[in-house]
Symmetry: C2
Subunit: 189 residues, 2 copies
């Protein structure tokens, strides 16, 4: 049970045991406890400086699509870790397959966002303003999950977002990890 919890949350052995005791052996409840605890830890780690890392690439079979990415972490030790490398390769696959345009929401240009907002609003005319706003926000969320790498569902495990994947890595390594930049080339486009 402790191992199951560790795999699911990436938390340490001791934390998992504690959470299980606190939850009277209920694994779902223990997961929630750990997620909350880890969330605070991850938020704290996310503000730390990350200047090491790797440049990685992926060329899809046939050589018509290629990806180059830079992912930063805090130490060269983590950068050379196999699990971290596998994570970076997963990001490359994700970008090749799902073709995001930006790393995160903060990169979407204001003009693009205004355009999306207009399109969304024009599709829900004739409803009460409060409902319109809610629908527009929902459509924007959908837009983010299409164009932003971190907001996309992870192609290998669609129930997780890429951001979840990133937070798992931060929890596992105990270091801040950041996708700094990427580029995707498709032949002739």
């Amino acid at each position: 049970m402790v191992n199951e919890l560790r795999t699911a949350t990436g938390a340490g052995l001791l934390d998992c045991k504690k959470a299980l005791t606190e939850a009277d052996g209920n694994i779902e409840q223990a997961t929630t406890i750990l997620r909350k605890k880890l969330g605070a830890k991850i938020d704290k780690l996310s503000s730390r400086s990350a200047k090491e890392g790797v440049i990685e690439s992926y060329i899809h079979v046939g050589g018509k699509v290629g990806v180059l990415i830079e992912v930063n972490c805090e130490t060269d030790f983590v950068a050379r870790n196999d699990d971290f490398k596998a994570f970076v390769q997963d990001l490359c696959l994700q970008i090749a397959a799902a073709s995001p345009s930006y790393v995160g929401r903060e990169e979407v240009p204001e003009a693009e966002l205004a355009k999306e907002r207009d399109i969304a609003a024009s599709q829900v005319q004739g409803k009460p303003p409060a409902a319109v706003q809610k629908i527009v926000e929902g459509k924007l969320e959908k837009y983010y999950s299409t164009v932003c790498l971190l907001d996309q569902p992870f192609v290998k495990i669609p129930e997780k977002s890429v951001k979840d994947l990133l937070r798992d890595q931060i929890a596992k390594t105990g270091e801040n990890i950041q996708v700094r930049r990427f580029v995707r080339y498709q032949l002739g486009s």
Copy 2:
């Protein structure tokens, strides 16, 4: 001798034989004849549309430098050719090692060029205007050979420029070949 000529110029068997006859067996003269002939052919090929090709990447040992490139040719047949692939890999190595900023001169922004011209001019004050212009042009050529991929000396054979390498490929394949774009990531910079 014919083989030597073919390797040096990339010209066909028949053309090499003809050129040797025309040059009375003088290989240097035959090379010049072929280069002129090929030059015209290459110039003609260079205007043709090139929409096939490959995306290729290179990650330098240690994962701190990476390159992604798109090179176009006319047919998928050439794109899958080993010699063409080796050429593209050479371009990746070149970019990783020599860190160019642009593919060719036409990509250098006008403002950059004006800045370089100013710097060059300020270094040669007090000379006759004709001499100044010549020196400035020389310094600009030097600048191009630093920042433009095609103008750079090829790292593996510095007597050749990357453009020479490209023209060799055009001659060998009989197709127009173009470096469409590339990007070079260096960790943290």
